[in-house]
Amino acid sequence: MTSLAKLLEAALFASAHPIMVDDLINLAHDKEVGEEEVNTALTELKEHYDTDEHGIELMEVAGGWQILTRSEYTEAIERAQLAARPQRLSAAALETLAIIAYRQPIGRAEIEEIRGVGAGAILKSLHERELIEVTGRAEGLGRPLLYGTTPLFLEQFALRHLEELPRSDELAIALREPRPSETAAVGDAQL
């Protein structure tokens, strides 16, 4: 491997979270090394892991790069109690996250309106898991807190960026299309 690829490998091995490309460029500490060189080295590293059949792989996630174990070894590693998978989120928590991801910044009242149930406890637990954060306060009465998703949300959902989620008008509505006469009543049903 090139020395840049080796350096990047060492740095990625020393981090539990994705490293942004900008930080990888800084790491090289060399004016000759820019985004292009880093991307080439990342590709080299990625291909090396893929073609040489490693137990790990390089993934682009949450706006940066991260080395992760390949999924086929997860069960064995967990069985041997060398590492544990995080708990799955409840359906209610996932719904709340989905709403926040699409509508951020969004306040609690609006989330509750969409889900039809109270959101207080779920917001607290998503906040504790650092999947959402307070991004501000709404104008107006009561000045409610507004929530948005965090970089850790992208990381844990293997998303490169928020735009990777389908746009709301791309979401197939499993139910049939409205008849023209109904369009007015349901036209604003989009996320």
Binding site: S15, S90, I114, R176, L191
Partner: protein, 229 residues
């Protein structure tokens, strides 16, 4: 329960019965909704009861006579349909998030980290500019509450809505307890609305309120006309 809320349950009923979401037979679906929540022992959960009450209200509105060719007639179900479609989209995103989450859950990140360098975020160099500071001042000015003035939030309390909910619940069950008609994390305005609605209905003789002990649950009983008050 494996339902994440009343909309989830309602949507699953609509799917099971292969009902056209744009033409929901409200009477039938309300009945089934009640059966299901009884069966699932969800009929003491405020959120589900509220949905049951809402369905009953829509059913009643559907029965109101309307004039032939009345253009101003608005389908009482429209709001429910809008919410169901919106919720349906949320469920689709959830499916997608679940897939992505599994993809990531099945991979471990590096757990061993070399000795943390003595670089706390506190001694990393700071990039600060006056422009940023002034922008912050501006934000504070725009959004700051007046110090010391305790803002009374004139959030509309919805006594009529609460009255409708209580009436519908009592129609279904005859009696209920405070914690069954309001969810534990209700906002103060919701609690206030409910309280005023209960007092209003008690005054009108539609129900009786009892609290066996101080701080115990308030019991709400429908006051059937003719029965001794």
């Amino acid at each position: 329960s494996h339902f994440s809320g009343p909309l989830d349950l309602l949507l699953s009923l609509i799917r099971d019965e292969q009902i056209d979401i744009y033409d929901i037979p409200v009477g039938k679906i309300a009945e089934q909704f009640l059966l299901r929540i009884k069966h699932l022992k969800l009929d003491e959960a405020a959120d589900y009861l509220e949905m049951a009450a809402r369905l009953m209200r829509i059913k009643a509105q559907m029965l109101l006579p309307r004039r032939e060719g009345d253009d101003a007639w608005e389908d009482p179900r429209a709001e429910l349909v809008r919410r169901l479609l919106e919720y349906q989209q949320v469920r689709e995103v959830v499916d997608l998030l679940e897939q992505r989450n599994e993809l990531r859950r099945n991979r471990f990140a590096r757990a061993f980290l070399p000795q943390q360098l003595p670089v706390s975020s506190a001694n990393r160099p700071l990039a600060l500019s006056l422009g940023e500071l002034f922008a912050a001042v501006d934000r504070v000015l725009r959004v700051a509450k007046q110090p010391t003035l305790h803002e009374v939030v004139p959030r509309a309390i919805d006594v009529d809505g609460a009255i409708g909910t209580i009436r519908a619940i009592l129609e279904l069950r005859g009696r209920a307890r405070w914690n069954e008609v309001i969810s534990a994390d209700a906002e103060p305005w919701q609690v206030l609305s409910l309280l005023l609605a209960l007092l209003e209905l008690a005054k009108a003789g539609e129900l009786k309120l009892a609290q066996p002990r101080a701080f115990s649950n308030v019991e709400i009983t429908r006051d059937v006309p003719g029965e001794a008050a």
